[in-house]
């Protein structure tokens, strides 16, 4: 997988996906805004439907799923590799963008429909919490530490978030059922979509997934490049450090060290417990 990441093949694959993503998104927008008819009840607002569920699907399942899976694979000894760490981090970053978009498009839809920007339902609250947990992951990632330590911490943070989101979802669900606010505010309200609207939405799903994959690949590449720069800087500071640390007359790095040097002539005979004379005696 890492070989794939470095070849020019990957770069052309990325480009192809990028172009496809752009085309699909453009098509969705064009179809959504101009070609499909407005719905009976919702009016023009329904056009958000072509974007909001796809974006939500990407955020919750694609991004979060990749992040959780990568974290698990990193922590599991058999598949441990920094590749999973980098992939997971890229997925989380892209996920943050998509989660924020989910909340924004949802709010935009909710305001004219129900009169409120926000409602404390399980789905919305879990999504908001997911955003905060993602942000926490990113904050943790920016703290300086060695790659393995950072990878381990972030993987644990991601997995615990994965465990936590369902718990929160349950809690909020129960919490909400205490207040029968009425089905007006029920975001599970399904619309009947058929015809051109149906496959426009389908196209929207495809488009957003392509965008996600493209962003993931690009972000991953940025991550690898950043790491390579870090390595280069490390090499430079390393040679500087050794140059200053080694005085003349001692073994310099790179100088051949005899394999049996340790077994070589002992510097002093030894027997402990024998009363020593001279300077050694003065130490007692």
């Amino acid at each position: 997988m890492s070989a794939f990441a470095r070849t020019p093949l990957r770069r052309s694959v990325t480009r192809v996906i990028g172009v496809a993503a752009l085309a699909a998104t453009a098509a969705t927008v064009w179809l959504g805004l101009f070609v499909t008819p407005p719905a009976q009840v919702q009016g023009t607002l329904v056009r958000l439907l072509y974007l909001h569920p796809p974006v939500a699907w990407v955020a919750l399942y694609c991004a979060f799923g990749v992040a959780a899976l990568s974290s698990f694979l990193y922590l599991w000894r058999r598949t441990r590799s920094l590749f999973w760490d980098r992939l997971g981090a890229s997925a989380v970053e892209v996920g943050v963008v998509f989660t924020a978009l989910t909340l924004v498009t949802g709010s935009l839809w909710g305001r004219p429909t129900w009169g409120v920007w926000w409602t404390w339902t399980a789905r919305l609250t879990s999504t908001a919490l997911l955003l905060v947990l993602f942000l926490g992951y990113l904050a943790l990632r920016r703290v300086p530490a060695s790659p393995e330590v950072r990878a381990r911490r972030c993987a644990v943070a991601a997995l615990v978030a994965f465990v936590d989101v369902p718990i929160v979802s349950f809690s909020v669900d129960w919490w909400q059922t205490l207040h029968q606010r009425g089905t007006v505010l029920n975001p599970g309200l399904t619309l009947k979509v058929h015809g051109s609207m149906a496959w426009t939405m389908g196209l929207g799903f495809v488009a957003m997934t392509l965008v996600f994959v493209w962003m993931l690949l690009v972000r991953y590449r940025v991550e690898t490049l950043a790491e390579r720069i870090g390595d280069r800087e490390l090499e430079i500071s390393l040679s500087e450090r050794w140059a200053e640390g080694a005085p003349e007359g001692t073994v310099a790095p790179g100088a051949p060290v005899a394999g049996t040097a340790v077994a070589g002539a002992p510097v002093a005979g030894a027997a402990s417990g024998v009363p020593a004379t001279g300077a050694a005696g003065a130490l007692r």
């Binding site: 904050a139 703290v143 300086p144 060695s146 644990v156 465990v163 718990i167 929160v168 349950f170 809690s171």
Partner: protein
Amino acid sequence: MWRDALLVAAKDVRIELRSRVALWQVLPFAVLVLVLFGFALGPGPAALRAAAPGLYWLAVLFSTVLATQRSMAIEAGEGTRDGLRLSGIDPAGVFLGKAAAVAVQLVAVQVLLGAGIVVLFDVHVQTWWLALVASVLATVGLSAAGVLYGALSSGLRVRETLLPLLVLPVVAPVLIAGSRAWSAAVSGAVASGASWLKILGPFAAVYLAVGVGLYGPLQETG
């Protein structure tokens, strides 16, 4: 593992008692939070009485962050961290011991806060056992999650701001469930209140398990 946990817990509690930070900083902070809430929502007693359970648990959550930071600060120096790893103590034991020490502090905080909401917000709890059980379960969960996230951000110089950001979202279910359970305890609606224990219990169990499993690897460098 349990013997080790007891050893570590005793050490942490003794250090806390000696340094008195918990006494002079964490407890006053908890009370201060209540008072500030009073300013924010009052002075009418009705609003305060209604909000009291939630405010109580918010104050507990903030205190958890402080107590966890204290717990991590005990091994702030590299020497003590090395010492703990070299001591031969099972990391799971370290986790449980530290969580137990944090839990002890949280119990003290909650006793004070409980008195606080009775006095400041004019709250009368009808079903004490429900409130008590909820508190016990929540305390276990909060301590476990706190120490786990403390380990995630340990040894990092920015941990003071990082820890709240990481741990508070994660313990949101405790806030929700705890507040609902205490509301029920105040109003005497035992059945609905008891159902919230079904969140607090598993939460505590999950975080204890995760902590016991992952605390060791988190201590390793590289």
